[in-house]
Amino acid sequence: MAERPAKSPIAGHLVYRHNRITRLTHWISGLALIILFMSGLQIFNAHPYLYWGSTSDPDKAFLSIAASQDDGDVRGFVDLYGRKIDTTGFLGVQQGVFGPFARAFPSWLTVPGYYSLAAGRRWHFFFGWLFAISGVVYLIYNLAVGHIRKFLFTLRDAKSVPAMTAYYLHIRKTSPQQGEYNPLQKMAYTGVFVILAPLILLSGMAMSPQLNIAFHWLPALFGGRQSARTVHFILAFGFLFFFLGHLFMVLTQGFLNNMRSMTSGWYKEKVPVVIESTAQASPPEAAPVSSKQEAEKINEAES
């Protein structure tokens, strides 16, 4: 094991980027999120109204998705704070075998496709457990091996956000990236792990009558049960936003390389990475260079 200079690995070399637990929980929670989102829309369809507060007085909904009939022409509407937006063809109304029928989110967006609150709930709670468990496993393991701090967004990162944005927009030629994750990546992942995931779990649990008894503060945290339901709904679209951004980045920033790193763990470096200490690990192919102590640790653990 020869000592390596601090500025390594060289571009083009393989590094062990994602440990086994990260890869496993990534795919489990990814699948869970898709099903949670779609079964969540199925559940929402049972009462396509959103409110703030504890209760749901019918005339106090700030958002509703409904169909209305005008001269035999059935049209779908989203009503947001009194502003009616015609969404025929997507939200509020759907074409069926027997003509148009009222349906908030269309069947191609829900799990199952046919209307069934009971089935939607079964999918939702099973994958809710799976999502929570895989999240906890991920967190405990990666806190223990020190992986989390590599992408924890700090004040220092905040300063280089504009530079990184400029780099992505091709305004700036060089990347301000230091370490494995760039500031925008850190912002996205920290947002998901510290804000989005905990809050979506808490707002979901705040809707459970039994947990409302166990923890009176839980619905109060969001301003009442209906507010918790609204927050849960909004955060779900936060996840959708992250998911689409994530997908876009994976597809445009070297799809095969990204897929290799999230399946086998090995990622081909594009830019030299500054790292504090180095160590060599036994790689699965050829003779790539591993940069991390962590990689060695994990390889030991896995062999």
Partner: protein
């Protein structure tokens, strides 16, 4: 010409992508539809129900109370849901006569089977609570309930040691003539806020909300709160009740444990 070909190739590509995504989407929809009707998949998903019940009960101190609200929080209208009220002659005439003929029959695995009139129940110690009602559909209303604690009835009829559930037999029926029924276990039955309510918002229980008697079980969703109750039955197992799932909605796929 060249530009045209490029454009048409691009159109072809976009059209292809659209077609592919449609196929994928409708394929996904069909897959989830068939998985939702697959018995093995569904019994796997149902594992979550037991997990939820155990975990949530572990987190809740026994007999801890649901939040009770103040009079100012009461919703202007207590929304009614589910089957329409019973329309039999017996029911409607008795409703007009202030329930002089109605009786609550208590039977099953009990040492002292009993039958109570509404006046009997009203003469027992009562409990009043302003609580939030959460429907499985997603809406919530707050109402003030007055009734007799179910534990009060339990103490009078003395269930046998193998009695594990209370089944609620109801007078309302669906469009197929099937009677509503529900069940809770003894842990929830003796909870201090589990009451058989005969008053809503300081008035006799309205017909829409389950007159003359309905259940309040504050740790669970609305469909557990049986309305139009006519009898209680103490049983050791739910296998022979309805289709064996313990309730009208449960037989149609909803969870028996509705604390979530």
């Amino acid at each position: 010409m060249k530009l045209n070909r490029k454009l048409s190739r691009r159109n072809l590509l976009i059209g292809g992508l659209q077609a592919a995504s449609l196929v994928v989407l409708s394929g996904c929809e069909k897959m989830f539809d068939s998985l939702s009707q697959n018995k093995n998949v569904q019994s796997l998903l149902e594992l979550a129900e037991n997990g939820s019940r155990r975990a949530q009960r572990l987190l809740t101190r026994r007999n801890k109370l649901a939040k009770e609200f103040e009079a100012k929080d009461i919703s202007p209208k207590f929304r009614a849901n589910g089957n329409p009220p019973p329309i039999t002659m017996d029911y409607t005439t008795d409703a007009q006569n202030h329930w002089t003929r109605w009786r609550l029959e208590v039977s099953g695995l009990v040492k002292q089977p009993a039958s109570f009139s509404l006046a009997d129940l009203q003469a027992m110690p009562s409990r009043t609570q302003i609580t939030r009602h959460d429907c499985v559909e997603g809406w919530s209303v707050i109402g003030k309930w007055k009734g007799v604690r179910l534990e009060e009835i339990i103490n009078r009829v003395q269930p046998a040691t193998d009695a594990r559930y209370v089944v609620f037999r109801c007078m309302d029926t669906d469009s197929d003539g099937l009677n509503y029924f529900e069940s809770i276990d003894m842990i929830d039955a003796v909870h201090p806020q589990t009451i058989l309510a005969y008053e809503l918002n300081d008035r006799p229980l309205p017909i829409d909300n389950g007159a003359p008697l309905r259940l309040r079980v504050e740790n669970q969703l609305g469909y557990k709160h049986a309305k139009y109750i006519r009898a209680l039955e103490f049983v050791s197992s739910l296998d022979k009740i309805g289709q064996g799932k313990g309730g009208y909605w449960e037989d149609q796929g909803y969870e028996w444990y509705a604390g979530i």
